[in-house]
Symmetry: C2
Subunit: 332 residues, 2 copies
């Protein structure tokens, strides 16, 4: 799946910034791919890009209209269809990561077919995969793993890519979820792959590379999440990580969506992830922790990071507050 | 998926007994569901059932023709189509666990539709599942886990069901792979479920039950298999096992299909499986090991079992050679 830049980011009628988090993420991590934004009446989000009509964006060279908004329910809004069709008619592709498919909206499917345009429904892999083979691949890989879902694994992998590139190190973010795929324009939604092929799909996602090249692989779920640990396990095995970053949200009271499940102890979580990683890469090691301190004030965040660093004996940073350089320093 | 008995077992042109292992398994574990067998010229397998034509089987009350044979490649053989269509026309359903679907053979799909018959392609789940919720369910569950693939997990679960029923204990085999599903007539091919829903599918497979009822859940893969461990992990979490049986083939030199991967140490394998199981059932424990000694002579098998039993400190049996009673004795 390779979505063609540059993009017109569609903000739709996003009721707040959170509803437009995909658009904001694309702008944050791939600003060079973003030409403009298109809002509908009632939109309360702003990606800080020039507001453009479809015609203006196309004139400026936009190749893809990217749906950067999720409404309640995460489906394609009826109010959006006219704009999406207009984009297809103007010569753009469409990309979205919603629960229903662009391709399942007849007006869009017909227009795309008539115009020869592509519809990228990134939540639904179209590629067929093989069973994982476990063969050691060339190049280096860093993988974010977490105590829980939604605690910063995508952000950490993107921040590491940016940090390494800023140092002149060849590095590529490898997206495994729909937001990451839309940000990067490519990737595989691992949780939508048939379970027999989880590790095989990750092997395809992060192929052989130059010996000094780093793939920064976006982790998913948690080995301690009763709903998703299978995805996490297959992802770890397929990634063959040389380096692991532990992602954690220190104020969370229970596993996301599972009120009866406490978060794992950090040391137990590290040992379990390390054992899994070493099955396919015996030299795997932790290089740091990325602590999401967004719910803490400055003083509490600083204390949390220093206490966790002392406890775990490796760099503990908040990629947003402190950057990720100290973890990058640890890479083998 | 509920396949209606009794069955006519289709042996086709099986080149040897191994090619007809599904039919032999159905006959071994569900003899009460088997009316007869149908062989084509050149068949070298025998399930020990009366040979019947389609018409004779239907006359005797057969509800389903079950494809109990796999040819090279595991696909539907062209030589079989006439018999399969005849079965549909006589009023039987069809069931198979092959790599291609009965439903994708136009002659069969059309005949089934015209006759109002069902085609069960057990390798391809048609049900939609929810994400696992991890909520504790009533009833008891025993799960077979393995050092590797194909080392006796299905056999162990079936043997445990039979042992418990012989003691008057309510028990149900829960099939998670295509052979198990064809044997039992129901189940879910877990490795074909989208990876987000592995544990959720297993939660559906083994629902709330009477407090003293045992589900004997068929394990899949191994937490130490680089291709399939994600499936295994989600299956363990969804099963919430009270009791685990370790399945092992002591003469295997490397993980199945992965020549570079050695088998795990038994104690490490047990500890890893136990930790995974305790996420969703903190009282999970190992109750024994089922050692597949088919490659050993009697003396070597006996020695292997007694040495392993001493080493692990729990009953070690070969379900085929010695039965599984000593493990059943250990159930909480």
């Amino acid at each position: 799946m390779h979505i063609k830049p540059p993009y017109l980011l569609f903000l739709g009628d996003a009721r707040d910034a959170l509803a437009a988090k995909v658009a904001l993420g694309v702008k944050q991590w791939r600003p060079e791919n973003c030409l403009g934004q298109l809002s509908l009446p009632g939109c309360n989000a702003d990606a800080g890009l020039p507001e453009m009509t479809v015609a203006e964006a196309r004139e400026a060279g936009a190749e893809t209209l990217m749906v950067g908004v999720a409404n309640r329910g995460g489906v394609i809004g009826p109010a959006w269809i006219d704009v999406l069709r207009e984009a297809l008619e103007s010569g753009m592709d469409l990309a979205a990561g919603l629960h229903n498919r662009l391709a399942d909206v007849p007006a869009l499917a017909e227009t795309a077919a008539a115009q020869g345009r592509s519809l990228f429904d990134v939540r639904f892999p179209t590629q067929r995969f093989e069973v994982g083979n476990g063969r050691k691949r060339s190049g280096k890989r860093i993988l974010s793993v977490g105590t829980d879902c939604s605690c910063g694994k995508m952000y950490t992998a993107l921040a590491m890519e940016r940090e390494l590139r800023s140092r002149g190190v060849a590095a590529d973010f490898r997206a495994t979820g729909q937001t990451g795929i839309l940000i990067d324009g490519s990737g595989i939604a691992i949780d939508a792959v048939v379970s027999d092929f989880i590790s095989g799909a990750v092997e395809v996602l992060t192929p052989d590379a130059d010996p000094e090249h780093w793939d920064c692989v976006e982790g998913q779920g948690s080995l301690f999440h009763a709903s998703y640990a299978g995805v996490t396990m297959g992802l770890i095995h397929g990634a063959q990580p040389d380096a692991l970053v532990l992602c954690h949200e220190p104020t969370r009271r229970h596993m996301r969506g599972l009120p009866e499940y406490p978060l794992p102890d950090l040391e137990v979580c590290m040992a379990t992830n390390l054992a899994a990683a070493r099955l396919t890469n015996p030299t795997a090691k932790f290089v740091g922790a990325a602590i999401n301190t967004s719910a803490l004030d400055d003083a509490a965040a600083k204390r949390c990071l220093s206490e966790t660093e002392e406890r775990l004996g490796m760099p503990c940073v908040d990629p947003v507050r402190t950057g990720i350089a100290r973890i990058a320093d640890m890479l083998p």
